[in-house]
Assembly symmetry: C2
Homo-oligomer: 159 residues x 2
Amino acid sequence: MTSSPAPSPEPAELPDTELLRLDHQVCFSLQAASRAFGGVYREALRDLGLTYPQYLAMMVLWEHGPLPVKTIGAQLHLDSGTLSPLLKRLESAGLVRRERSTQDERSVTVHLTDSGTELRVRALPVPRAILRATGMSVEEVLALQETLGRLTESLSRAV
Amino acid sequence: MTSSPAPSPEPAELPDTELLRLDHQVCFSLQAASRAFGGVYREALRDLGLTYPQYLAMMVLWEHGPLPVKTIGAQLHLDSGTLSPLLKRLESAGLVRRERSTQDERSVTVHLTDSGTELRVRALPVPRAILRATGMSVEEVLALQETLGRLTESLSRAV
DNA sequence: CCTCATTTGGTTGTGTGCAACTAAGTTGTG
DNA sequence: CACAACTTAGTTGCACACAACCAAATGAGG
């Protein structure tokens, strides 16, 4: 694991004590921000009766229309272990309908119900409220996304 | 993913459609990075038999010594609903010991066992491995932390 | 037609994370 | 002292996330 042949520049001559608490705080800061987002979304989505992951799934369906579970998972980076119960809850809530494909009976296509389609209107103001809550400029948001993208890429390669 | 190929720094007025998917991707990028960290930590901590949150709790104890559950929760921003089962698992693993205080019998002080204290040595190389996996310079890490701190602050105020 | 690897969802088990509630102990006030 | 308010852990219920495994359907070769 640690014997990577990557010739990346070794990061610096910092005292161990400093370094040792530094990185753990990166992930910690990340999770703190993630949790804070969770709270804001929870508030914003309460009226819609959606959790944040459910909202993401609905976003995908609103944007692309009926999709197989597999594709939704690919978009959200979620596997069936997470998606199956999530989609069942959306189905219980009457927002989606799951239909096994007649072409390929392994595949289940997820459709929006009328109720699910109508929910989109009520969800439209949510993104802007979230953006306002971040208190960040568009430029900062883009820069942050770029940094996070690079970070995720690097971390994924490291596993 | 979708139709937006690259975060080209468009100067000012973004159309609503662009703005509307922007913020959801901030949180999304954040969670992706968080998940990627999770994978790297899972790998790095496998030998120690710790999950990342358990590792954080051990870090607090290694640094500060015996602490009441309340204080650990304050450090990690976790409540008893999360910490109680987590600490019980650490106790089952023989790494900590929970003792109800004689001064204030509401309080439970968490002590490291000898086994828990010894584990620190094996955990020492972990942070450096994580930092290397990020592929980021120390300066970038610090800048990212600053941005995330501001973001979390702003989001917390918004709730 | 038969076999076998692959694809696709699903299920189970473990471990957070959070909200709501309970229980026990402590403290402030009349 | 009596009693209400507060503090601290714990418990329960819900909803992810992920790993490991399972079952049905598909498709390629023989």
